[in-house]
Amino acid sequence: METLLNDFSPGLFAVSTILLLALIALMVKFAWKPILNSLEERESGIEDALAAAENARKEMQNLQSDNERLIKEARAERDEMMKDARNITDNMIAAAKEDAKEVTATLIEKAQASINQEKQAALAEIKKTVAELSIGIAETVIKKELSNKKDQLALVEGILKDVTLN
């Protein structure tokens, strides 16, 4: 203990106190403050960047799921539309078919009607022609038959016979 105290130099103690205080003050001012501040800045910068990356990743994920949802929706919509379109075409085709059927039916009806009319007309014509022809024939026949008396009387008698039969 005695040698220890003998070794202790109060002068050096004072000198080193002053020097160390100056050193600590200077180091804090010129070195540690800027260094620690920059380090903290850098660390917070890194943290921020990491957080930003994480956020971006999440956003990406959200976007992706959004995209997927959109695609699904679009697909569903498309399917719906296709279905609708198919329905519409089917309906249209059916309607057209129906229409066509109707149209043909009426057309046929009309044709039949006109055919009937024509037929009637033709029949009437034929009847008329036949009648005229028969009258002509009858005229000629009668003219020829009635050229002799006898034939005339035979005819009248034949006709009279028929009439009585009726």
Binding site: P10, L12, V15, R42
Partner: protein, 378 residues
């Protein structure tokens, strides 16, 4: 930037060259030794004296000394200023005035006062005395110690290392202004700064308060570490092995944790809650003694003792070269000394870091205890 760096490098090299070769005025004096062999350090007692002399502070910076052919002791080094607060006020002169004498035989007269240097301490002679007279225990009888504010070897080392630290770390700080990641030597320093902050300051003081004390802890850590390492170089610094310096550091820590102690800290120290009334004053005495005396004392003694012991061991192992020369032969003694001192020096490099770490760590721990919120504890 690059040119500036080159310039600094160049100037450092020039300075080292000048230090080692040119500017050292080689001084010589006749050593008053018993063997009269020109001051060679050969015997066991001489080795012991040499080591003890090295452990102590000295007033001049001497790198090595040798004995010339004419038997003169030559010292290579440079003198440092001596600043004394004597009975007549401030006295300054260069330490070369003592001519490397350390046993009080050279008397320096300045301002009408006489000074002598005995075992690295400067004594002021009584007015009527012409030479120092000693009693049988080798204590000076007609001289007394003066207050010695000299720039001694330790103070010089402190200044040099302090400037070096300022240079390095302010350069690192400047680097951050232009880039995010430092380059060059800064890349070595940055992880160390981060280590002290994240492994010592933050866990021991706590997330809330560590910022205030990190500057002090960083300064102390690098100061002790670099000086410990400088002590292992042949420059022969022993700054962290000076009680005055370690005491100074310990008192800084004491002041910091005493001043920044919270109310809860003092409450727990002086009037411990949850303990029987009668025991409280006893506990208060123990706690106060622990906080104000034992903690700083253990801090200062640990650093001082570890570094001094390291120096003594390394130098003793080097001295095997001389002390075991007779029994082992020149080659054997030199080889043994080389191997042993090599390994011990490696261990000392580790100890240099460990002591800096422990001092900083314990400082942080004590500060952390003082600023901790005691509300939830106990």
């Amino acid at each position: 930037m690059r040119i500036a760096y080159k310039t600094v490098k160049f100037l450092t090299i020039v300075a080292i060259t000048l230090f080692t070769a040119v500017s050292f005025a080689s001084e010589s004096d006749k050593k008053h030794d018993v063997q009269n062999d020109g001051g060679r350090v050969n015997t066991k007692s001489e080795v012991e004296a040499y080591i003890l002399h090295h452990i102590k502070d000295s007033h001049d910076f001497s790198l090595f000394s040798y004995t010339s052919d004419s038997g003169e002791r030559k010292h290579v080094g440079f003198p440092l200023p001596v600043i004394l607060w004597s009975s007549e006020g401030l006295v300054t002169f260069m330490s070369s005035a003592f001519h490397h004498n350390d046993d009080g035989h050279v008397i320096v007269e300045k301002n009408g006062l006489k000074f002598a240097k005995i075992h690295s301490k400067i004594y002021e002679l009584d007015t009527d005395a012409a030479t120092v007279s000693f009693d049988e225990t080798h204590h000076a009888t007609n001289a007394h110690k003066t207050l010695d504010f000299s720039i001694t070897k330790s103070a010089f080392g402190l200044i040099v290392i302090g400037l070096l630290m300022l240079l390095w770390f302010s350069k690192l700080a400047r680097q951050y202004k232009t880039k995010k990641v430092p380059t060059g030597f800064g890349r070595v320093l940055e992880p160390l700064v981060l280590y002290v902050r994240d492994e010592i300051a933050r866990p021991n003081i706590g997330e809330k308060h560590y910022r205030r004390f990190t500057g002090y802890l960083l300064t102390v850590f690098f100061f002790i570490w670099i000086l410990n390492l400088a002590g292992l170089t042949p420059l022969g610094f022993n700054v962290t092995g000076q009680l005055a310096v370690t005491g100074c550091l310990a008192i800084f820590t004491l002041v910091i944790y005493t001043v920044s102690g919270t109310k809860g800290y003092w409450m727990h120290m002086i009037w411990m809650p949850g303990v029987p009334m009668l025991i409280r004053p006893v506990l208060a005495i123990i706690e106060l003694a622990g906080a104000l005396i034992i903690k700083p004392f253990s801090l200062l003694v640990r650093l001082f003792a570890n570094i001094s012991a390291g120096h003594i061991v390394v130098m003793s192992l080097i001295a095997i070269m001389f002390t075991l020369k007779e029994s082992l032969g020149v080659v054997g003694a030199t080889g043994l000394s080389l191997v042993l001192s090599f390994f011990i020096t490696l261990i000392e490099v580790l100890v240099a870091f460990l002591q800096a770490y422990i001092f900083t760590m314990l400082s942080a721990l004590f500060i952390g205890m003082a600023v901790d919120d005691h509300a939830e504890a106990h």
